[in-house]
Subunit: 343 residues, 2 copies
């Protein structure tokens, strides 16, 4: 049936797998402006507009854990994840389609909670839920979310536009979602170890980071600010796999190297507290922590002040460097770490 | 966390679940022309064009069985399923996005086979693969496919347009995919019973029906024929859950009753042979068998001859009746079966 060789996907990684397919998929259409490789696909619509589409799949046990995730939070979060990719193209999301595959162990009421979260997010992001397939599943809840949006041709922002001299910026603060996950996993372990059926963890002092994990918000405000300030970032990506990974994607697509100055990477006080409590390095949270749903973008240096007149919640963390295709992290202690930007 | 009530989804069914959500989802946008309830969503694009989007999820063990499904056939079939929904709007598909969640037991080579099938289908349907998320899965292969397409405003066809007096038509023949499934399941059982590791079933005499199950084709030809003949069907739906189910959807959305004449329902010789061999009623294959990916549509009676000048592979199987909201199946033996068209 299939080839007799067996190379595990771990050997090449999931990004490697996608790159491999992208190289093999040869069938192209003239109206497709951007295919695999950015936050969403881009197809030309009439009247100088572009249509962006993105889709993601979420599996119980891999992408979410229902032990500590309320269904309505899950519903909100999957919509956030989908529209975040549309915002990352500097586009306005219009619709989401949600497919769910549900095992018997979950009730209609639980699915209603999920939809309450989806509905709440659809209001916050002004998108309409326009499709929904639902089907049976044998063991796990599986959800797929598609979002589409529109952007004027002149205002679309790809991962590929970063230029030497541009500054690298991020919105908000990083690592909070991972800090929240650490707390939730610790509480889950306590609950399992306690052997009790009901367990009410005291999460009050961790509220900020737990919220960052359970109900992250997509940064539509930065997209609005770009419009108001009449600024176009040279490249943009949403931060879902940690800033280091995202900058590698940007650097790779833009064919540039980068330097970041680690003390400039914004980290919340609450995130630092969790790292201290866990006796872990908070920089690792900020650099590699996933699911923050903040935005990373590059900008001509002279536009930083202009953006600041409309929007304050961002930090300049580095600069686009020469074409040596390295991501250099300056720690501020006379040390620097060099990471290859993969092809 | 969730409501304390537990109603199983079986009690209301998956269509019931979607209807329930549709009723609850209140957030709407002006540019969304058609949300949940048709084959795809419809959003206005500029210049009198409409943008259609559809998404589906497929799980191993529920929607496909890798014991007898080669990966490249699976790849082809999921694309067929997605574009079929776009054709069912009388639209032209442009792109597909494929997300896969892969457990360790499957190799890179197997996923390449899957993508070969996706690529083959993308050529046949002239769509570009523009997105692909890939991620880990713990036990089963899960795939989600999104397709988008474009249609002129004046040529979009919904499920809701069927009018009294229209004839009901179907393309091709029905029940073949289920007949193929019956054969494959029988061979799978023989293989398991045999206790052998390798088993080469002799499927030659069942080639037609097995192909119908494993590599169904979406009916883009009928959409092309409508255009050439300058005909607009009053309603249309692709046949994925059996013609009886699909006509219930059409009847419900159009708020009409229907009569079909069962001897007119097209059934292939090879499908009849399988039903005979299995000692089963072939009408059940044709009425309730899923995954044929044929098209059901309604048409003003006088347009039937006009369509025939461009396209021959369709049958008139019945008529739209009064508003009593029944689907009446005349068996041709002085018997008729009445099925309520659910709300």
């Amino acid at each position: 049936m299939a080839d007799q060789k067996f190379n595990s996907i771990q050997e090449i990684g999931f990004t490697g797998l996608i790159n491999r397919f992208d190289a093999k998929l040869s069938h192209q259409r003239d109206d497709v402006v951007c295919g695999i490789g950015d936050d969403s696909s881009v197809v030309s619509a009439a009247d100088n507009q572009l249509f962006c589409t993105t889709s993601e799949i979420f599996l119980e046990g891999v992408h979410f854990d229902l032990t500590y995730t309320p269904f309505h939070h899950l519903g909100y979060k999957i919509v956030t994840a989908a529209v975040s990719d549309i915002y990352a193209m500097n586009a306005e999301p219009q619709q989401v389609l949600v497919d769910i595959a549900v095992p018997n162990k979950y009730s209609v009421q639980m699915m209603e909670q999920l939809y309450h979260g989806i509905e709440a997010a659809s209001k916050d992001y002004n998108v309409q839920v326009t499709g929904g397939d639902s089907t049976a599943s044998q063991q796990i809840l599986a959800i797929s979310v598609t979002a589409t949006g529109l952007v004027d041709k002149g205002r679309v922002v790809y991962r590929s536009g970063a230029k030497k001299g541009d500054v690298i910026c991020v919105t908000g603060d990083l690592g909070g979602a991972l800090a929240g996950l650490r707390i939730l996993l610790r509480e889950k372990k306590s609950w399992k170890d306690s052997g009790e059926q009901h367990f009410q963890p005291d999460l009050e002092k961790y509220e900020y980071v737990v919220q960052r994990q359970l109900v992250p918000k997509a940064r539509f405000d930065i997209v609005q600010a770009f419009k108001k300030a009449d600024i176009l970032p040279s490249s943009m990506i949403d931060i879902t796999q940690g800033i280091v990974n995202e900058l590698q994607f940007l650097g790779n697509q833009s064919q540039v190297g980068m330097e970041i100055y680690s003390p400039a990477v914004p980290i919340a006080y609450e995130t630092r507290n969790v790292a201290d409590e866990m006796q872990e390095d908070v920089d690792k949270y900020a650099f590699y922590g996933g699911e923050d749903f903040e935005m990373a973008f590059t900008l001509a240096e002279e536009q930083v002040e202009k953006l600041k007149t409309e929007f304050e919640d961002f930090s300049v963390i580095g600069k686009i460097a020469s074409k040596d295709k390295k991501l250099t992290i300056n720690t501020g202690e006379d040390k620097s770490i060099e990471i290859d930007i993969f092809k």
